[in-house]
Point group: C2
DNA sequence: GGTACTTATTAAGGAGACCATCATTAGTAC
DNA sequence: GTACTAATGATGGTCTCCTTAATAAGTACC
């Protein structure tokens, strides 16, 4: 949101700008009176009334009972109608498909999950996605027609247009126009983005990094990766390949997970998905072998992290991904390693949003795009809460 | 420019937006007729006329003789008055102080240079700066009162407010409010920024990287550094410490210049500032020892460059700094080293702006700030070309 | 219960900025 | 000199915002 290409126009454009100002003040905030809105938007009271009346008529805003017990005549209060439309965020992982439905303020109404086989054929996977979303809508008491937008986070390289180039962990993901495929299933626009990036977005909008403009998100788990929020926006890079510092040999990131997975202390036969957790738990209890493994891991982690920090000087670094459940074990040695090389030490935190991270990020991503659509200077004016006929594609509209 | 926080207001705000649209169309472009402006801005002809008339009255725009030989009644033509105000860009290096004065379109009118001693005391250095700028103004036939803004690029760590924390190569630069000091000398706002960053900006606005949104600038010379242009804007980072990947031990950047400076082929007694040039010239002629040294240097260079490329996926990487005069020698081995690790290979080029890079970047930086000032939503409306009384400080106004 | 005070609402008048339309003007083409 | 072309200038109308002033609906206090 926020930065759209600034452009003039006729008087209706001015009204549009003022409408947006009012909605921005109301959304995600307590109900407000006309006086408050007038002061915050800089408009006069009568004009504010005009704008609010129009927004009410269009269905964006509704009146709530006035607050009691105040001096003077009780002021009418208005709030944003977050339930005017609904968004779905989907997280398509190799082993799990998650979905959550939220209102226009990003409040989650319902959430569902369903296991998946990493090697499932495309048809099966698409059907599973549909089922998860339908379930989720049911749970929230909604139907397909309530959907304004679906945003999907998944592993692999994703183009701004919603094509998947490839994914190492999902065999069906191979040169695929996932956006188009899912738009045949759902009656609305479907956005696709890399899952780590969406997790980073969620942490920036509602997690530990809330309010930060520059954030480095370290995805640590059986696969390593990074995602960047720069100037408050998701950074994709020219070819949507940003965040791949794992490919730098000097970091040792490709093999780093092995330090935890194959530590000498892990009992024979432990399933691979539990191995690192075992090592980290042992380290928490002070086991020297485990601590040694953690030391080796964080040393590698620190190399890539330091590269990102020195280059970008972020306000905060967030640890996410599977291993971040043990952030308490990893943070001290990581901080120690970073302090030796970093010019200015950023804040350092573990993710707080946990497994829902990607789904929440997808919802936030969808909200960003709704803004771009409704508030665009040359787009359609503010509309009643019905499904927009055409929404510009992500990468294209941002110009 | 471009992205300012979108806000409504009264009718004058609309006029302001439309005025900005017109100026943006005129600035840096050929004189235009009302019909052309009306079409490009989306305004009606009468309104365009109104806006242009007002801008003419304020001194932002002037009429030029109509084009001849066209069908129909000759249209009046208007152009942006780039000479309505002037900006000075200054490059304060350890051994040289450069300055250039430019008009509001960034066209350089005059340029001066003056040697300096790295260990000169503060007073002497400040006096030298003043003399260089005065000289430059003289050469351009201007006086101090024509100055709208001065932008300074210098080595070291610079805060967004214009304080210098420290600099390794200029002894007088030590915890210093350079912005304030120079504002006592010049009758206008003085902006300070790191020199590499300004060089990167110049390359993005008028050099090899023109038009690119994401640019990585590698400063290679007796000191190594990087600067980033992200989403078209200079990236400073939270503590203005971005671009310091030189501090990452794994890159070997701290000692990398030694590979070229102390190559076995360099004759005894060669002044340090010519040593690398000697090695690079020898390498160009195929000398094996020199080529070996270049190989060692580019290998280190590639590590830091790869970190930046993999993280950010820029459109283009620009080689700047003293060594970049021999970019033709360095680029092939660098490209070769990068191709082995980069997921998507960016364009790779040497700087084309040469020694004037920082001064030009300073001018472009000043232009960006003028925009922010004049076109800010809550700032003063468009004004006649007289020196603005107060211009918001860089970092603060950008919110 | 009545009066004073406080804060919102409502209504009226006015100014600024935009638009559409049309008659007029100043060139070129032949 | 006539036909054609394209820009100019003037008129009237609409929309959005602002200011000001009268009215309304509560609380506080006697």
């Amino acid at each position: 949101m926020s930065s759209l290409s600034l452009k003039g126009g006729d008087l209706s454009r001015l009204r549009q700008l003022n409408s947006v100002s009012v909605i921005k003040e109301l959304r995600g905030a307590e109900p407000a009176t006309l006086s408050i809105l007038a002061e915050r938007t800089g408009l006069s009271r009568p004009s504010t009334k005009d704008v609010v009346d129009e927004l009410t008529r269009l269905g964006w805003v509704e009146e709530v009972p006035p607050a009691t017990g105040t001096m003077g005549r009780p002021a009418r209060r208005y709030r944003f109608r977050a339930d005017g439309g609904h968004l779905v965020g989907v997280d398509i992982g190799a082993h799990n498909i998650r979905a959550a439905v939220a209102d226009l303020e990003g409040n989650v109404l319902a959430e569902t999950r369903r296991p998946a086989r990493p090697d499932a054929p495309l048809e099966e996977r698409l059907a599973a996605i549909k089922r998860v979303v339908m379930n989720c809508l049911d749970l929230g008491g909604l139907t397909m027609s309530d959907l304004w937008m679906v945003a999907v986070g998944t592993t692999g390289l994703v183009t701004p247009e919603g094509r998947i180039i490839m994914s190492a962990s999902i065999s069906a993901w191979k040169d695929l126009d996932l956006s188009r495929l899912l738009e045949e299933t759902f009656p609305c626009r479907v956005l696709i983005e890399n899952d780590s990036r969406l997790a980073a977005l969620a942490e920036t909008r509602r997690g530990v990094a809330r309010g930060a403009r520059d954030v480095v998100f370290l995805h640590i788990g059986r696969r390593m990766g990074t995602a960047l929020i720069l100037d408050g926006k998701l950074h994709r890079g020219f070819g949507a390949a940003a965040g791949e510092i794992v490919m730098l040999p000097e970091t040792g990131w490709v093999t780093a997970p092995e330090d935890l997975n194959s530590a000498a202390i892990v009992p024979e036969g432990t399933p691979i998905e539990d191995a690192a957790g075992f090592t980290l738990a042992a380290a928490r209890n002070g086991d020297p072998t485990a601590l040694d493994a953690v030391g080796r891991f964080t040393k590698k982690l620190a190399v890539g992290a330091a590269a990102a920090i020195l280059l970008l000087d972020p306000e905060i670094v967030v640890l996410g991904g599977g291993f971040s459940r043990s952030a308490d074990v990893l943070l001290p040695p990581l901080r120690h390693a970073l302090e030796r090389v970093c010019l200015r030490m950023p804040k350092l935190s573990g993710s707080t949003l946990g497994d829902e991270c990607v789904v929440l990020g997808a919802i936030d991503y969808a909200i960003d795009h709704l803004d771009q659509f409704f508030f665009a200077p040359d787009g359609p004016a503010l509309r009643p809460p019905v499904r927009p006929a055409v929404v510009p594609k992500p990468g294209l509209s941002s110009k």
